[in-house]
């Protein structure tokens, strides 16, 4: 059974993946429109920070949704190197953020 720390590690990995996607998009086209990607990136970072903050104040929680999130993170990481299309990135990120948001509700 996953511990609260495992769940938080998954949330952090999701945040890393979102940041990597955002940075890769900026590197590919620094003058592009990154508003939607930025929203997705910060939503993932916020979900991870909220879970860490909650656990650090002595109120940890666990959820079974971790596996779905891990799979989504792994999928995004594996595809990141070959993805060139912003719309595809955004779709993947939205799925990821949706899962992260669902997961963070368990910790609320």
């Amino acid at each position: 059974m996953a511990t609260a720390t495992d769940v938080i590690a998954s949330l952090k990995q999701a945040a890393d993946a979102a940041s990597n996607a955002y940075d890769a998009a900026v590197a590919a086209n620094p003058d592009g429109d990154f508003k939607a990607l930025h929203k997705a990136k910060m939503a993932a970072a916020d979900a991870a920070a909220a879970a860490i903050g909650k656990a650090l104040t002595g109120d940890p929680a666990v959820t079974a949704a971790q596996k779905n999130l891990d799979a989504a993170t792994a999928d995004l990481n594996s595809k990141l190197a070959t993805l060139k299309d912003l719309a595809t990135w955004l779709g993947l990120l939205n799925n990821l953020v949706s899962l992260a948001t669902t997961l963070s509700r368990f910790l609320a």
């Binding site: 511990t3 609260a4 720390t5 938080i8 590690a9 952090k12 945040a15 890393d16 940041s19 955002y22 940075d23 900026v26 590197a27 620094p30 003058d31 429109d33 990154f34 508003k35 990607l37 930025h38 929203k39 910060m42 939503a43 970072a45 916020d46 991870a48 920070a49 909220a50 860490i52 903050g53 656990a55 650090l56 104040t57 940890p60």
Partner: protein, 320 residues
């Protein structure tokens, strides 16, 4: 040997032995204090979110929001709020480790204080004055120029021994604090939370720098200088203009920037673990000081060197 001379010989021999032990304790205490202070400072940096780091995070995240034309994003605001709360939660560790560092400073001051010299100087003045007084008296019969000859030596050694005893007491007190602090810092769940947050924060800080680099704001010059150094080559004037025109060179520079950024994120965990290891090593040295055994300072210095190397990697890449 007459009984009186034998007594003097025994007292002087004992004083020399006490002096040797005291001297070793004091030098050990001073060395332990120096490394302990460094370890406590490094641990504090690894276990807390400093004001400087939070400011760097806030600036990076705010810049990024502006860069993406997403300045009012609620998740960005909430993220910074969450990190501010985490900073408050971790401040308890900072206070504790700051006090540990202060305790080592006090141990260093105690160990380095020249009690022997101070006492000797004071008693020497007193004995000099008393000797002059005795010599000036009629029929004193004194043939010695210093009536305290031998005695001042003993007083100096007693001062050193007392000081050494105080150093051992202080060392024991610090060791007791370490015994309480190390298990808290070593707790796997707590350690992981602190490290995960450190990585999350570092990742956001370097993200802004990476994005700026990709936008052509920062020079690739320092990196090009490093690459050419083995062959004594230096970049030509206006090298960045050339980089901007060549996608392959641009990609190479960006790859190194990204790698350095990732290194700084990856360094968070080792910096924390090495800090805890340094504190654990110090605990062993406190035991040695208590037992009067020579300290293994080479080991501590090696751990500190590793720790400083890991801490250096946490700094974001610098541009000109």
């Amino acid at each position: 040997m007459r009984p009186g001379n034998l007594s003097v010989a025994i007292v002087l021999t004992a004083a020399v032995l006490v002096s040797a032990c005291s001297s070793a304790t004091l030098s050990n205490g001073a060395a332990l204090a120096k490394t302990g202070q460094a370890a406590a400072t490094q641990m504090e940096q690894a276990a807390t979110l400093s004001a400087a780091t939070y400011t760097a995070l806030k600036n990076a995240v705010t810049f990024d929001a502006g860069f993406a034309n997403d300045i009012d994003d609620p998740d960005t605001q909430d993220f910074l709020k969450q990190e501010a709360q985490i900073q408050t939660a971790l401040s308890a560790y900072g206070t504790m480790l700051e006090k540990l560092g202060n305790a080592y400073v006090a141990l260093g001051a105690l160990s380095s204080y020249d009690a022997n010299g101070t006492f000797s100087s004071a008693t020497s003045s007193l004995c000099g004055a008393a000797s002059n007084l005795v010599a000036s008296m009629p029929k004193s019969g004194s043939t010695s120029t210093n009536i305290c000859q031998g005695a001042s030596f003993g007083i100096g050694q007693i001062a050193s021994a007392f000081q050494a005893h105080q150093v051992v007491d202080a060392s024991n007190e610090i060791e007791a604090v370490l015994n309480a602090v190390i298990p808290v810092l070593s707790d796997p769940d707590r350690r992981n939370l602190i490290v995960l947050n450190g990585q999350l924060v570092q990742r956001q800080i370097v993200s802004a720098a990476k994005d700026l680099y990709a936008s052509g704001i920062f020079s690739c010059g320092p990196l090009l200088t490093q690459l050419g150094a083995p062959l004594n080559l230096a970049p030509v004037s206006g090298a960045d203009g050339i980089v901007a025109k060549h996608a392959n060179v641009q990609r190479g520079c960006l790859a190194v920037v990204s790698g350095t950024a990732q290194d700084s994120v990856n360094a968070v965990g080792p910096a924390y673990d090495k800090s805890v290891a340094a504190l654990s090593a110090l605990r062993d040295q406190h035991e040695k000081l208590k037992a009067g055994v020579p300290l293994d300072l080479d080991t501590i210095n090696m751990i500190l060197a590793n720790l400083q190397g890991a801490a250096a990697k946490l700094q974001p890449p610098k541009g000109k």
